[in-house]
């Protein structure tokens, strides 16, 4: 027997002592409830009811990088029904008359809610104050109906912010869990965008009050032995967005219907503006959406719900020539000076004539000129020399065909076909004509505008690609701040020498005599850029442009795609030019005034 061991008989005593202690504790608890507090609890049991009132936490506010509110809260009232206190159907009819909500709809909402019947089930949010006043005055007429302070989400409108803010909606279905923290059915959680991605931060934590209610329905106050739990507000978020640039970008679409804009800081991956057109007003999701409004959005042929910057898939068109050119240089197939067969407005491959966009032809060119003038003939030959699999391999190494990892839900991967993919798509066989098409970015190849922005941000940043992101800072209710540092996503598969040649091509596209984007005038700065005209079998071509400036020290990369906009140089390029001007001027002004500081 070791020194800490006790004798067998003593073990029995200890065990009996523990048992006795447990039973004495329980008996004492029972004595307190059943003998000492009997009359008080009997009275509560016979006369009063206990009502559980959730304290809805303040959902976090979302601001842009300068503190401009993008998503806020508007105080309001919500009407709920506590089913366990509801005694007759007439109450529902009266409520229906008061709030102008069909009683069948009320019944349906009650039926759907699977929470315990003693918890209030929200029937209508954002109820006018006059109606709440009526409920307050005539509480005896409405047994089981409660009203509580609530908050309605307020989204900035007119700046196409819905594509990144997303929206909130009610939790439906039994015992839905979002993350690991349970939420009450009928409470609001993020359903899309930032609201969804950072819901756990924004949501906060619901509190609870326990109220004692007399038989007549009068609230007697908080239950004495159960203090209220105040809950916790959600955390505020500061985004990398520049609301002014966002507004300018949203407005720049002017008469065009559809498309996307992404503006990104190549030095850290911060998204400065992100636009999806056509847009919709996220505020309509705040309450219960009227069916007709919802149907109209859902059946709109322009697909406003498609989040084009990260879920829209387009052929990259001539922008992809940078990948082809990079691969060509890296593989040692050409140097900066190598020329191919001259362009005579197209190229003969086998029995087919592959046209260049410029029917007069480009003549003999090196790779820089071929990029600047976007010569198709040069890249047909390049693609053939590389082969489809090398092309696909470089495209994937440049970030295409995979999500960028942006902090938004529902991102598309796009499509970068290699020979395996094509074998599956065309079981009856395919020809090298497809390779020729792919090498100029047309055909099966599909990218998202965000992937294009990421790729050009890498070109503008010496090959280092940062993960595009929107979250700048989280501000917790206790005032503490967390700012996740920018993450390097990957390196472009190009050597510094190759990058230099590619950048020269991008510079020449804007500034040389025959450059495809010669028209965009950006005062004071040199700009690098590339046009693109995505062939669209269903209608007018899509117009792409991506530009970055200042060329020597790029601060911003902007991608614009205008669906059915036609020629890249005609539509998208001037839009990028205007936005670059706007942003660079704004930067200088801000720096000079020094008044407006970033809040992040």
């Amino acid at each position: 027997m070791s020194p800490q061991q006790i004798h067998m008989e003593l073990r029995g005593r200890v065990a009996q002592g523990v048992i006795a202690l447990v039973f004495i504790l329980i008996c004492a608890g029972l004595f307190r409830l059943q003998i000492q507090r009997h009359s008080e609890l009997l009275n509560q049991s016979e006369n009063n009811r206990i009502r559980v009132k959730p304290i809805v936490p303040k959902r976090g506010v979302i601001s842009d990088r300068f503190g401009t509110e993008l998503v806020g809260n508007r105080p309001s009232y919500a009407i709920s029904i506590v089913r366990s206190e509801l005694d007759k159907y007439t109450t529902i009819r009266q409520l229906s008359a008061l709030i102008g909500f069909d009683s069948m709809l009320i019944m349906a909402r009650l039926k759907k809610n699977r929470e315990p019947s003693y918890l209030p089930a929200v029937i209508k949010r954002d109820v006018e104050f006059e109606k709440i006043a009526i409920l307050e005055e005539q509480y005896q007429k409405y047994p089981g109906i409660t009203y509580d302070p609530d908050r309605v989400r307020r989204y900035a409108s007119g700046i196409s912010a819905q594509c990144f803010t997303g929206y909130v909606g009610e939790v439906i279905g039994q015992n839905k869990f979002s993350g690991e923290i349970p939420v009450r059915e009928g409470s609001l959680i993020g359903k899309q965008g930032i609201e969804k991605k950072f819901d756990e931060y924004l949501r906060g934590r619901e509190g609870t009050r326990y109220l004692e209610i007399s038989a007549k329905g009068v609230v007697l106050g908080d239950l004495a032995d159960r203090p209220a739990n105040p809950g916790m507000s959600g955390a505020d978020l500061i985004l990398t967005i520049d609301a002014e640039l966002q507004r300018e970008a949203a407005n720049s679409f002017d008469t065009f219907c559809c498309g996307a804009i992404v503006a990104i800081n190549p030095k850290n991956g911060e998204i400065l503006a992100i636009v999806s057109k056509p847009d919709y007003d996220a505020n309509i999701f705040s309450g219960v959406i009227p069916t007709d409004v919802w149907d109209k959005i859902l059946n709109d042929p322009r697909k406003p719900l498609l989040n084009r910057p990260l879920d829209g898939r387009y052929p990259p068109a001539s922008q992809f020539k940078l990948v082809t050119a990079g691969a060509l240089l890296e593989e040692g197939i050409v140097t900066g000076e190598t020329v191919f067969e001259p362009c005579r407005g197209g190229w003969q491959f086998g029995r087919r004539w592959f046209r260049c966009w410029k029917s007069a032809g480009h003549g003999t060119e090196n790779v820089v000129r071929a990029i600047a003038e976007s010569c198709d003939t040069y890249f047909y030959q390049a693609g053939l020399k590389l082969g489809i699999d090398k092309l696909a391999q470089y495209a994937r190494a440049c970030g295409f065909g995979a999500p960028t990892g942006v902090d938004l839900p529902h991102e598309n991967s796009g499509l970068t076909p290699n020979s395996d993919t094509l074998n599956r798509m065309y079981p009856d066989g395919w020809t090298k004509a497809l390779t020729l098409n792919l090498s100029i970015g047309q055909g099966e190849l599909l990218v998202t505008p965000l992937q294009a922005a990421q790729f050009f941000a890498g070109l503008a940043n010496n090959g280092t690609v940062f993960t595009p992101h929107l979250l700048k800072t989280i501000i917790f209710p206790d005032g503490s701040r967390v700012s996740p540092p920018p993450q390097i996503s990957f390196m472009l598969p190009f050597s510094p020498k190759t990058l230099k040649i590619l950048d020269q091509g991008l510079l020449a596209a804007v500034h040389s005599e025959d450059g495809t984007a010669k028209g965009i005038a950006v005062t004071k700065y040199k700009v690098g850029g590339k046009t693109g005209t995505a062939q669209n079998p269903h209608g007018e071509n899509h117009s792409w442009f991506v530009g970055f400036a200042p060329f020597e020290d790029p601060q911003i990369v902007i991608v614009v795609i205008v669906e059915n906009g036609g020629n890249g140089s005609a539509v998208a390029a001037p839009m990028v030019g205007a936005l670059l001007n706007f942003y660079l001027k704004r930067r200088t002004d801000l720096a000079e005034s020094g008044v407006e500081k970033e809040r992040g």
Binding site: I26, R184, E206
Partner: protein, 406 residues
């Protein structure tokens, strides 16, 4: 080995049967006025389970304890595999993955794992060489316990995993661990909790030093205890502060499953009011208005004691508590007179499980322990739980029957 039915502890058996019968009556009462036929039929199902339990108990009783002894580690291994497979194949309800669904009824492997751990610990402590309380043995028994606990926490089910810890501590105490030393062993946990408040922790640490001075556990044990406590007390606040708010929230949510918004607070309030309204003698069988418990879906399972308190009052509750106390004292007596170490550990382990569940469940209904979802042995509605608890009794009786021979 002949079974001596005359030597059987009939009084103990009678007490357990009485508890089960009372449970059936309460389940009947709980849903007597319920509109749902399914709910009204719960007591019939429980009667059927009672029969199954008796049958199972009879079989277990006739299996030689030697078999359990020899197969304890195999049984333990199987239970671990079951716990793993329930995480993979089990069905998820209320955010927890605890059950295998077989059409109409479902089985939770946690009960099997409780039994397996009880056998494994009994086996472990009855065959150790030297002192069962050497640091090595304590650590080994801790690991045997932590494996199923980790799998059950993953489900997640904090309440059930606590039963496993109770079993382990029970086995330690039955090996002769003195209460003072137990306090030293558990002190880091207290340190962890007390570290939330610097002053509270300082006071606690001073008390710990006093206890060490008084017990004189030796230089190595004493200094390790002090070091671990210091580490827990000083490091925890730093770790806690470095966590993000949402991470803290997750830990708090996990540690406190009874918190709202799922309305657990409401259940406790109603349970306390109905027990209190029962008074000294209660409102009488079927006479409780049930107005308080009407909205507790668990009133026939987790809150069956509230029905008892309301209908039969303080005196009725005392009778049930008396039956439990009688049962437990009797089991300790059996454990003391067992000749074989293994059977002694088995009986004591069974008593530990029953005592812990009684305490946590009744404590919950009167609001002195947190809501954990542990049923009240023998009284709560539930087939697996009833069969499991009757199996414990059968093992205890078998151990008693064999005390002369085995």
């Amino acid at each position: 080995m002949a079974i001596q039915y005359r030597a059987l502890d009939w009084k103990l058996l009678l007490a357990v049967a009485a508890l089960t019968a009372i449970g059936i009556g309460l389940i009947y009462s709980a849903h007597h006025y319920s509109g749902s036929e399914l709910r009204q039929g719960y007591y019939l199902k429980q009667i059927m389970w009672f029969a199954i339990s008796l049958f199972t108990a009879a079989i277990v009783f006739h299996i030689p304890l030697k078999l359990f002894d020899a197969g304890s580690y195999v049984f333990y291994g199987i239970s671990i595999l079951l716990l793993i497979s329930v995480l993979v194949f089990g069905s998820t309800r209320l955010g927890a993955t605890r059950w295998f669904d077989f059409g109409q009824f479902s089985v939770s492997p946690s009960d099997i794992a409780k039994l397996a751990l009880m056998l494994a610990l009994a086996r472990f402590f009855s065959y150790t060489r030297g002192s069962p309380l050497s640091g090595r043995n304590l650590a080994a028994s801790l690991i045997i316990t932590l494996v199923p606990v980790a799998l059950i926490l993953k489900q997640p089910d904090l309440g059930t995993s606590l039963v496993f810890f109770a079993l382990m501590i029970g086995a330690w105490m039955w090996s002769g661990l003195s209460p003072g030393y137990l306090a030293l062993l558990l002190s880091p946990l207290v340190s962890l909790i007390a570290s939330a408040d610097t002053l509270a922790w300082a006071l606690y640490f001073a008390a710990l030093l006093g206890l060490i001075f008084f017990l004189r556990p030796g230089l190595i044990f004493g200094s390790i205890t002090v070091a671990i406590n210091l580490a827990c007390g000083i490091v925890t606040p730093f770790v806690w502060n470095s966590l993000h708010n949402y991470q803290r929230l997750r830990i708090l949510t996990f540690l406190d499953p009874g918190q709202d918004p799922r309305g657990a607070g409401y259940q406790i309030i109603q349970s306390r009011i109905s027990i209190g309204s029962g008074g000294l003698t209660g409102k009488g069988f079927l006479n409780s208005t049930q107005s308080r418990l009407e909205f507790l879906p668990e009133r026939h399972t987790d809150f069956v004691f509230s029905v008892l308190g309301e209908e039969f009052g303080f005196l009725g509750s005392l009778i049930v508590l008396g039956l439990f106390a009688f049962l437990l004292f009797r089991m300790v007596r059996i454990a003391l007179r067992c000749r074989s170490k293994f059977s002694s550990y088995i009986v004591f382990g069974a008593a530990t499980i029953i005592l812990f569940q009684v305490f946590v469940n009744i404590g919950m209904t009167i609001g002195i322990t947190p809501v954990t979802g542990l049923p009240l042995p023998f009284l709560s509605y539930g087939g697996t739980s009833l069969v499991f608890n009757w199996t414990l009794i059968a093992l205890a009786l078998a151990a008693d029957n064999a005390w002369q021979e085995y």
